[in-house]
Symmetry: D2
Subunit: 308 residues, 4 copies
């Protein structure tokens, strides 16, 4: 199969649609992004790399960072993490607070905002915020095997100033004892992790450990056990696209995690890791064209976890 | 891999735990079942059959029937079905009515009760209830390649007399125009489909089309296209275990559908279809030991849709 | 104070607005009503009667009947009634089912549909539906001192055929054991009680016992104790206008109960009982002009339970 | 009627029950209070004062302060206030956040925490927090005609350090634009207003304007118009006891506002203002014995807004 040709055909098909969807506007710094952008990259477990469009342009990975922070947290506290956060789809939007009240401060899963904040709080334990941010950045550079990955301070600051809803979620969990540090500290780390700037190529490479039994096949870096890689994939499939997770599983059939910056990381277990980016979002908050691109990719390659 | 040995080891490990969980008691006829029962069967896509315990004993498949009725409905109306029912996990228990009010009569997915009732209403269209029941029974016999599959009338009657919550769900959807036949008709069909009695072996065989690109490899009977088989698997993974779907995906990693009779149908795409049964339920309404048995099976075989 | 002049001034002020609001359309028989109608009547505790407009025209009192059925039920089972229904405002619309799930089948108050159905189920106890309907009709004729009050069978039938949401509520409560008769029986009575046809004048007279310490001052008929009259007034004030009860208390300041037929019964304790009717409803389901008329009446008379 | 004798009889009847209920423990400073305390005072519109028990002991009025802040806010912005907060009972507990999400940042009424915080934000407009606190304190001293009313700084500090749930509510409303100052400023004022320390006697006198058409009959100080006094009473009746408001209206029949410090202010329009205090709370968060005392008072005096 000629993956480059597949990528080229997807790009050609989507080019007339560039600009579709709605750029996230609740973070002022993200609202400035030109929506007419698209990039896509595939890193295969046998070491090849394919890309198309603006696959080299850095963008704010936002919630995709939750996959890496979850990986880090599981490495630190293991399955004990699940005392702090659930593993079920939420049935609500990414920043809903309703469920938190019903379930007494335990977020439904690590990929909604509340859950990711709780995971960050776990990683923060015993550290100053600055140290935790540093540890996280080193970890992503390690899995991506790329020292040029950086945090965009302007985006982090923009979220700190306007992220009232995340402050609400964190304070609410603190009231239930499920945030254990000063809210400003935990959110300080959280806003910086979300502000990570990466390109599609960097993202595809960083996700390879999830496609390859927990070990980056390019570097040989072991990140997690095969079992844990499978489990993180399961969580991505179940909860990776907020209240559009079922639709994504139905159409694309691959584990994936989206971010409001317009990026999506998808994993074809045993085969490849895919990074795609286009800033316009659909109505449940996932990249409109990124989702379509992955649906086309799955259809043309036959990649699906649900059968040939 | 010696699958019979795997099954034997699972049975040996679970034997001391027989009786765990709580038998469903809201259907009087089901409440009479002895909880100390367990059966398991694996039908592989290359035509082998393995079984252990009471794999030949018929039990009430209940909500597992929703997989077959969904298959039938998709065959009749295709993707238009999704105007009547969603494809997202519900985040609530199997018979919740809350979500229906918030989303104006459109159930979240075809595997919660409300969604399954809407799917049955679609299949009922243009038929008398008795005809629709007959069509459904013939369809299951066809996919199972077994004419001895029957409906347990006592169970159907028991549900008809006590299924007030399902009457509530159906009337509620009728108020929104999403049930289009007299409620008694639609529920008449629904209660009979749920009252299907099958053994683990019959169930494993009936699910083979989902493991084998839509065609039963034993009979060559084509049931659905490969794409549709993948999509039904996706729905089973996302929504097949009510509010325990995330946990099942995390622990087992295979598409599956449970019923309150204690049965579970699971699918290892490309490899096998598995039927397991033990009547005691866990607190989210899925077979307690059936879930554990599938977790052990997945661990010992390495079967998982999320990677090796 | 010249109450007739007050009524005349209200009628004059509202005449140009006749037709405002939206006639209830979920009961086909009600949807046919001409919205350009208005009537109002005041019956004072000292035996006077004032009226204006179509105060003699019968209309479907619908939920106003809940006040009379509640009175009847309290007479039968006393304060034990509160095991079956709560006394708190619902914070939701009149036919919501969400709260019922959260509170396990116990409706929040006797004036939302679910609560009224539970109250009717209490009154039905030990009777055939036909007998209970007869008892209710006799009771209303007694409090109104008017044998010409009748039930509109066409409206009752119309609701029976289309009241799916009420069937949902009743079945849902039956699932929790809070409806104790066949749902068809309880709703049979409920639909007939709602189909009572009364004029503003009849309604004003029927409500006099609530304004006069439990005894109709015109007839000397004792209906309830003074304490119970106060308590029914309290329930009307707190819960009588669904999710517009707070607004009604704020603007009008009198206990009242509205119906989707466009009628409102209001009570000025110690002074008068008021019936008003205009079919167009506001967005929370209460008579648009009826509410305004009562606000004007309260302003011009100074009648308010909250001070002079 | 000998009101002193009534108070004495109530005190005698409740003395054996002192200590009932559960002292609020979510504010550490309040958790230290001895629950075996009780005081009650009645200030009549004709200038008499009656009291019993610890009616002279200061306690933290907490949410009772919302009545005074609401009065102040209505004086500043008039009916425009209702763009920022609703007037309907909430159907939920005092610090619920669920409703806020459903209704997009507009709290249901000014007496749940979220609503009171929004009201405080309105009063804060154009001021430094310290000034707003000063203005509020002066206002309460004015209505109480008592310069000795003070704010308990220890309580204010205690809430500032542990009031995570209020921080959640405020940030959540800020996300919707319904808090317009830095959250720390608005909550700074809010925590100080709640920390007001008053005795039953001070409270009874401070509430007299609500019983006497808006003007304190002792001092002749005009506070609000008669109409506004009635409307504040309406809000107190509808929403003054959180999710126990219906029960309070049913049993007591007077407008009232409770606080988690165990105080209740009640109003008998035209007759009297009552302050009662006992720290133990019932399960919906209102003073257990304070509620009973008011029920006894209403029964023995016949005071009720719902009729004689």
């Amino acid at each position: 199969m000629d993956l480059q040709a597949v990528l080229d055909s997807i790009y050609a098909e989507l080019s007339p649609r560039l600009g579709e969807g709605k750029v996230a506007d609740y973070i002022p710094q993200l609202a400035k992004i030109d929506p007419h952008q698209f990039g896509m990259a595939i890193a295969t477990t046998d070491g090849k790399l394919y890309s198309v469009g603006s696959a080299d342009t850095g963008f704010s990975i936002q919630s995709i960072s939750k996959v890496f922070m979850l990986t880090l947290a599981l490495g630190k506290v293991g399955e004990g993490l699940w005392k702090r956060v659930g593993r079920e789809p939420s049935g609500t939007s990414f920043n809903s607070i309703v469920q938190l009240e019903r379930e007494e401060g335990i977020p439904r899963n690590p990929f909604i905002n509340a859950g990711a904040i709780a995971v960050t709080d776990v990683v923060l334990s015993g550290h100053a915020p600055r140290e935790a941010i540093g540890e996280f950045l080193r970890f992503v550079r390690y899995v991506a095997d790329d020292e040029s990955v950086v945090i965009d301070d302007k985006v982090a600051r923009s979220e700190t100033e306007t992220g009232f809803r995340n402050f609400a979620l964190a304070n609410f969990m603190r009231a239930y004892g499920n945030i254990q540090h000063p809210v400003e500290h935990t959110l300080g780390v959280y806003f910086h992790q979300c502000a990570l700037s990466m390109s599609c190529i960097q993202l595809a490479r960083a996700g390879l450990y999830l496609a390859a039994q927990g070990t980056n096949p390019l570097t040989g870096h072991s990140v997690v056990s095969p079992k844990r890689a499978r489990r993180i994939n399961a969580l991505m499939l179940m909860c990776g696209h907020y209240d559009g997770s079922g639709d994504f599983a139905y159409r694309v059939g691959l584990p994936g995690k989206s971010g409001v910056g317009g990026g999506i990381l998808a994993v074809a277990p045993g085969i490849a890791s895919i990074g795609v980016w286009s800033p316009g979002l659909n109505k449940v908050g996932n990249s409109q064209l990124g989702s379509v691109a992955l649906e086309l990719l799955a259809a043309r390659t036959g990649w699906s976890v649900f059968g040939d």
